[in-house]
Symmetry: C2
Subunit: 251 residues, 2 copies
């Protein structure tokens, strides 16, 4: 059992569409990346690199967006972007829209966010395929550094039952998102009740502690979690964390 270290990557430039994010990260890390490191990236850096940004001035809200906006005191253009990003709108209450994203994640505003956007009146959307982006970044980081790392893409989500947001995984490659404990035994040999530990979400939460959201530090490196880095394999991605309705007893 060893210690983990969680280190923010400081000095990254503001990310713009088309940037080679892996190259920027490889150049910015203070300690060279090593096998088993996990590179945790707040999704906004990826969304900016992939041009997943919309200018509200160019959005024409349709009737449904206008109705929801009027009922909840929101900008109809922002509501239109949320509807465009949502597979389904679950709730609209007190100015908060809770939606299921196309990836199957449940979060406020379908992940659309105005804070940390490149300019006023633009909003940032989630990456189209965060697991795919994680795979690409992992391969590119391997090319550039020779290190076999895990890559994790995160966002801050609210939760049922508990106050406050925590960072969770919305994409990953090269690591075990769920550590399956079924059939394992405790220290005295009894079968464990836990079925699976959401390692990718625990890594996301840990990384968030090392940066402050107002300081523009989107990337954090976690060292010491190499047992969860699946050497040479991309793995199932964060898609494995989406809980199907029929097995969800908690909502």
């Amino acid at each position: 059992l060893g210690a983990l270290t969680i280190t923010p990557v400081v000095g990254l430039p503001e990310i713009a569409a088309g940037d080679d994010l892996a190259a920027l990260i490889a150049a910015a890390v203070q300690t060279p990346l090593a096998d088993g490191d996990v590179v945790v990236i707040a999704h906004k850096a990826i969304s900016k690199a992939e041009g997943r940004v919309r200018a509200l001035a160019e959005v024409s809200p349709a009737a449904r967006a206008q109705e929801i906006a009027a009922a909840h005191g929101k900008d109809a253009r922002l509501v239109q972007v949320v509807l465009d990003e949502a597979a389904c709108l679950r709730r609209a209450e007190r100015g908060i829209l809770i939606a299921v994203t196309r990836h199957g994640y449940v979060c406020a505003n379908a992940g659309v966010d105005a804070s940390n956007a490149p300019s006023v009146d633009t909003v940032i959307m989630l990456p189209l395929d965060p697991d795919g982006t994680a795979r690409v970044l992992r391969a590119r980081l391997g090319e550039l550094t020779g290190a076999d790392v895990g890559v994790l893409v995160t966002d801050s989500f609210g939760r049922a039952w508990r106050r406050g947001q925590v960072d969770v995984a919305i994409g990953c490659a090269g690591l075990t998102p769920l550590d399956d404990w079924r059939g394992r035994r405790d220290a005295s040999g009894r079968e464990l009740k836990a079925t699976a530990i959401a390692i990718a979400d625990e890594l996301a939460a840990a990384a968030d502690l090392a940066r402050r959201k107002d300081s523009a530090v989107p990337v954090v490196v976690i060292r010491g979690a190499g047992e969860f880095v699946s050497a040479g394999l991309d793995g199932p991605g964060a898609a494995a964390l989406v809980r199907p309705l029929e097995e969800d007893l908690f909502r």
Copy 2:
């Protein structure tokens, strides 16, 4: 912005009722505790020290427990303990009971667990007052070591919408459970959408990465999160993380 380190405390003895847990921790840490450290304790160590263990042989299941047990293929004595611990049973499905604990936490089996129990046919319950215990441990650790630390008590909970369990805070003292971001601004001066970050839950998740559930390492020290350690004050405890029904849009 500095790095965090997460270090498991190895070599603790098996905890028994009446043990001075703070003294055992102070003696076992490899590096002396320092101001701003967060001592994260899996609740089972506390439950054992506080005698929150029941022998199933001494439990007489009442009619309701027998009915639920029969319908779900469970041990009626275990169901009785769950009902005794629950403020309310929310769901019983496929052998899984989801309950609200007396503290207001929503989890499987009201937190009652047989794995890592002191002997076969005993079960471990949650501490009666995990925030209170955290305050006592914090004071005692301060006496023993001179360090002003945060104390966090954790358990593994399943979640709505997402597969897998993550460790969360069920008790804390001397740290900020919720970091309130309302009114703060992003790097370009815009108001942030996030309202509060559940720091205590992120610390709990981070700590879980440094121990394996089959290795009997209940205590982890997090260094580098001192900005969330509320010097000299116990703070509101993990009770502040319970989301009232009327403000919960996620369930």
